[in-house]
């Protein structure tokens, strides 16, 4: 797989560092409040065993349990310091529309960077292309950015399927980055993420809500390749805007119902400001 974007670009890394510095207060506030900040860090007190999954640190394998049961189990510790973050990244073809995928990748990179730059921080990245990758601590930043740089649109897996694979990782916090299509999948995906500790980010483009279309058009469904010939008259656009508004509100309602924070980001917005707004929103929710 070839890289389609370079998130390891020094300028972008500098931007991530700046965002991390500006976001530190929010994260710190969450961490000091009760040791269960909105964005996670790693810990040293034992919490439970779980089955080994590829990507787990071999040092966490409990060899005694392996000797007794014949299956590898890893020890899960309570979050401490950096904590753990499970990221579900929607890379289905609909994310291609309006540069939403680019925004989603960068958002995941920024929030993952904030977690990994702390000692003990861990990020499990499950994308709908079927891959699950786990990164730990500052050394993991490089790998995470490389992985995100190579993300391509894919129909490999559904959004709930990707979220399900985070079960073994048992993240302390969750991050779902999606365009919200369809809302039912968002609902089912959020079921696999920590309730009350998850941020759902719906990434859209302005054109999704306020399309500026004209002329004879053949609309294409990026997910299933269907076509629809339309001429966007004023009446048709008004109908669509009403339906689209209901749809995004439905996604937000789903997130609320699942106890997740919800934020909406537009691809056309300046990236740094958008990420800081997300972090601030996540921090407010965590403070409540």
């Amino acid at each position: 797989m070839s890289a389609v974007r370079n998130l390891r670009d020094p300028a972008f890394l500098a931007l991530l560092a700046r965002i991390a510095r500006r976001a530190k207060g929010d994260f710190a506030r969450g961490g000091r409040a009760g040791g269960r900040g909105r964005l996670p860090g790693g810990g040293s007190s034992f919490r439970e065993h779980r089955r080994y999954v590829p990507g787990d640190e071999p040092r966490t394998i409990d060899w005694n349990v392996f000797a007794r049961l014949g299956e590898p189990f890893v020890k899960v510790f309570e979050p401490e310091g950096g904590g753990s973050l499970g990221v579900v990244l929607d890379v289905t073809p609909s994310m291609e529309v309006g540069e939403a995928l680019e925004s989603a990748v960068r958002i995941a990179a920024a929030l993952g960077y904030i977690v990994l730059e702390r000692r003990g921080g861990a990020v499990a990245l499950a994308a709908t292309d079927g891959r699950l990758d786990v990164y730990r601590g500052p050394p993991g930043v490089e790998g995470m950015l490389a992985r995100l740089s190579a993300v391509l649109p894919s129909r490999g897996e559904s959004l709930p399927g990707a979220a399900r694979r985070l079960e073994g990782f048992a993240p302390g916090h969750g991050l779902l980055v999606t365009d919200g299509e369809p809302p039912e999948e968002v609902d089912r995906a959020l079921a696999f993420l920590p309730r009350g500790k998850t941020l759902c980010v719906q990434v859209l483009s302005r054109g999704d809500l306020h399309p500026a279309l004209e002329g004879e058009l053949s609309l294409v469904d990026p997910e299933r390749g269907r076509r629809l010939a339309i001429r966007p008259t004023g009446a048709l656009l008004a109908r669509y805007r009403r339906l689209a508004r209901v749809r995004v509100e439905e996604v937000e309602a789903v997130a609320r119902r699942r106890g997740a924070s919800f934020a909406r980001a537009f691809a056309e917005e300046p990236f740094e400001a958008a990420v800081l707004a997300l972090i601030e929103r996540a921090g407010r929710r965590g403070g409540r």
Partner: protein
Amino acid sequence: MTGFEIPGARTAFEEPGALLLLAALPIFLLLRPLFARESRHSVRHFDLWRRARDEASRRERVALILRRIGTAAAGVSFLAAVLAAAGARLVLPGGGRYALVLDVSASTQARGAGGAPRLERLREEAAEWIAERHSDDRVAVLAAGVEPTWIAGEDPDRGALLDALAQVASEDAPGRPALALAEAVRAGRVPLFFTDGGTEARAAEGWAARFVHADPCSNAGFVGFEIEDDGLRPWVLARFAVRNFGGRPPPLRIEARLGEDRVASIDLAVGPGAEGEGELRVPRRGGGLLRLRLEPGDGFSPDDEVGAFVGKGPGGPVALSRGASGDPVLSAIGGLLAEEAGVALVALEGAARASGSPSLAIAGDEAIDVPLAAGAWLLFGTRLPGVARGETVDRRSLDRVDPSSPLLAGLPLDSLAVAREGAAPPGARSLAGAGGVALLYEATLGSARVIGSTFPLEDSNLPLLPAFPVFARRAFASLAASPRRPLRRTGAPPPGIPLAAWGGEELRRRSGPLPGEAGFANFLDPDESDLSIHLPSGWSGTVPEGPGRRVDPTGALLGIALGGLALRLLAAAGARALEALPP
């Protein structure tokens, strides 16, 4: 031999394939919206768009269709305007071998309304055709006169061709274009026939002909016609009057035809609006239909035709019986009649055995004991079998003449004196008599037609009267001349003459009756005349376009452009009105 197909004939463009392509382009543009692939646009909420569209009313879909029609119409309009502005014209690949066959028959001398001879029009058309040809074409010029004449051989130089056209001259006779067309084919060329129509056009049927429409010509026609025909002389005299109905026709030529043979002709100069008279002495030959025609005689103005039937003249000799041969007067009369009719004078041996088949047999002061042979007989004092002898009178003068008989009309017979008389044959009709006794009679005896006297010539002074030769000649004409049937006039006036000026709806004869022959001289029945306008099939008077003819499509293209624009505006207005309505 059949004609040739000329590719591109009667098309507006010289290249038919390109023309078809050009014609198909607007159709393609009109149909294009039906198959057009719209601009593609990926959308995230595809289902929402579909729901929104499904909720759209039907009139919005109609508006969409209207807009597409409007777009297509605008495209067609634009294309048509561009083509019109560009003066679309394509060039036929050259290298063809052509022969320009020019009609040089007599009718091409006639002048049109502009005063120019028709031949000049033919030259202009040919020159225009030459100017439009590809430089690689090889063109020759052939004059279609009585004999085909190559004016210019194979010469691709246009200047030389135009010079050759200037050398073409009309002839004074109808042309024979079929020969010229065949000559062109023999030379391996595609013939293009330039003619003013008429009989020559008929010859061009099945050929690739290019017809030239001649201007309306000045016109002339017969206004008088009579035949002088005594039934005996070997010629007849046709008198005629011709009127020039206007314009300046060339010197008129009046041609007489007996059957299909040209037997006489005369030229006549008649000024505009004037009449001219003339006469033609025409040999009778075997008789038949005598026609006088105004040349050129190719079916086009100033053609006209009148005609009459001419009786068949005496075919056999004049025969004298023994008694007539012995009578110096009858012998002299017989000789004169034979000479005038152009037949021989022979002796008759017996009543039933003539030498040959006499046109007229003459007998005098003798007794014939056998029935008369078939034919015409003049009998003077001849005693026939079964006829009473009669009584002798001292002197009897003519006191009664049949007023209906043309034989005696105007003849001075008052001094006729008869010494003794016989009896007329049974059934005879008295032409003249005295005291209730027939002196001159007309009878039919078996197959013999007889005119005779009941008295011997030697017992009368009839041979001494000046009227006697006239009577004998009239009797000859009455007995020997074949009957002539009347003709009906044609229904149509000559070209260019309104029907009202021709005699109104009820057509009247133009020439009066010949003396003594009511309804004899008349105009021909169309079925009996070969005077008709021959046009190739498919040509009803307008000029068909020939091959290579340039047709300016600008008007049609601009019409299409305006029509497309109007349709575009209408469709857009309709679509706006529909979309403006509340959901």
